[in-house]
Amino acid sequence: MSRSIKPGIVILVAALMLALPLIANAGETLDAVKARGYLIVGVNGGLFGFGMPDEKGVWRGLDVDTGRAVAAAIFGDPDKIKFVTLTTQTRFTALQSKEVDVLCRNATRTLTRETELGLNFVAVNYYDGQGFLIPKKLGIKSAKELDGASVCVLPGTTTEQNVADFFRTNKITMKPVVIEQNTELNQAFFSGRCDCLTSDASQLAGIRAVAPNPDDYMILPDIISKEPLAPAVRHGDDQWRDIVDFCVLAMIAAEDIGINSKNVDELLKSDNPDVKRFLGVTPGNGKALGLDEKWAYNIVKKLGNYGEVFDRNVGEETKLKLKRGLNAQWKDGGLMYAPPFK
């Protein structure tokens, strides 16, 4: 009898140890990250332009670089970072259970996520919106002509609900085909299983780029939803929230006041009080956040300003060929607007 109980005890102890991290309260997130020596960021593992390792295994993407900016601000080194791949199902739970310090995984900020899920979304790092990708031979000009269509849906953020809302509002019907695997879904769409494919416009650009013949496909002009994609942190640590928030804003502000990775060293000698405060030549901002005064300098030096990060990952020179659009600076008709750094 006792022999048969022994493995049982081993399992119970193992289970107990698994349950322990749940109660371990690490205190302030910044202290925990500093003590650990690196930052843990939850990312999308397979979204080109936002979060995906390249062929050499180096992580690339707008969300990935946002995470690196936080690491650069804390440690002065963007590579003191560990990326954790999360699915749409696991991402919020991983953040809530302290598996990751920050979530940079193309997540849309919504009211229920901010409240019921106990998350704080910080400054938006990409303004997206849901659209439709169609084969050109379908011969329609607007999504409102899609009555009765089969719609391939990439499940994820708020996609399924948006598309249902759009069809209901316009009193037209649809048949959704929801496939979780990107590759399977793309195949189903390219082989004509669906009349159109719906997802965030940035993703549609990526899917169109891998089509057998990209010129046969087009993205309809209708954008049916607002998807402000933003990094998120847990409720309850306001200092940490501020740090992540201003890391994103620092990249936007740098572009706004004309600082980039090439001229940043030169501008350390600038007389402009805004620039001096931003780069920590005039101290204050770093202390207020609980960081080194060089934090914003490090972000721009190591990663560049928002414009550089955008162009490198999703801009016109990349496969995605995305225009700045809503993501341009406020001066250029976009929504990117950073508050004063003082």
Partner: protein, 395 residues
Amino acid sequence: MNQATKTISQTHHIPFWRDPAKRGIVLQVVALLFVLMLGYYVFSNTQANLRRQSIATGFGFFGKEAGFEIGEPMISYSAADTYARALLVGVLNTVKVSFAGIVLTILIGLFVGIARLSKNWLVSNLAKGYIEALQNVPVLLQLFFWYGLFHNALPLPRQSINPLPGVFINNRGFYLPLPEAHPAYKWMAPALLAAFVISYFLKRWSRTRQDLTGQTFPVFTSFMCLSIGMPLLVWLVSGAPTGMDLPHLRGFNFIGGFSFSPEFGALLIGLVLYTSAFVAEIVRAGIQAVSHGQTEAAASIGLRPKLVLTLVILPQALRVIIPPLTNQMLNLTKNSSLAIAIGYPDFVAVANTTINQTGQAIEGVALIMVTYLVISLVTSAFMNWYNKRTALVER
């Protein structure tokens, strides 16, 4: 003698920790308490953590509007319905594909299993090839294969294959004509039921008669005649309506008639072929477990080969077949959750969307587990009951 006194004295003076039976009970109680405490600890810990991070818990989301569409609901459903109804649609879809899958699996498995034992070299080796090929390819790959075949090999709706009038096959689905609504169809169901009841009493009567006189009665043939004939009679009497609801192309897709999607088709075919290979092996093993002497004995009392199989071999083989067959039925049901990979809106797919939208991952996953547990327990309860009925009464 010495041995006996020792035993007696032991039963009198033995302390409970030396008595394996009592010690066992104590240890089990301790283990149970430990498990319960651990369960309570994990539960209260999770609750406290969720509360501290002000994360909403509970099943309050059931009553909220789901706001998403589902591909092929069996009951009326729209995006304006609640999450509870959306999840019910998912459960029904899972039950639909599992039930259809189990029935087809058993039929094909039985057929292939018997073919595997055929004395004909070609038949036996074809069955062997079927079993080996399908058993050893992961079921997920098979699903991808069938789904890929469906949407790549079949034409677009406008170029549908039209093998029979009213029947259309394209990469959006399979469309069959359905009889138009008519009062006659309402009466055909009771007629079929009546046929079943009559057949049941016929069977009882024929068994009593056989016990008394030894005369047999063709019960199965009369059952088939009744269950086809009676509804047909009702249909003829009520005017033989022939109006059909034909599927037709409107806009992008076909509407009307009866249809099922390539996702359902691929899932059903994939699951059935994979599981039937295992069932075929179980059937073969069950039949071979009945010793050859039984066949010879049955033949020696003059039973024809068909009767040898149905009266002597199969009843004994079933005893061996049913328990592992139950396992395969459960496997098929659980494997149906792979539907999510090829876009069939089964319970897991709907629950996943629900988790996505509400963020209530713990509740959602718990719900998935409980649902599959209930489906599995019901299936095995039924099979255990059936097993008891067919088990050989040992004398």
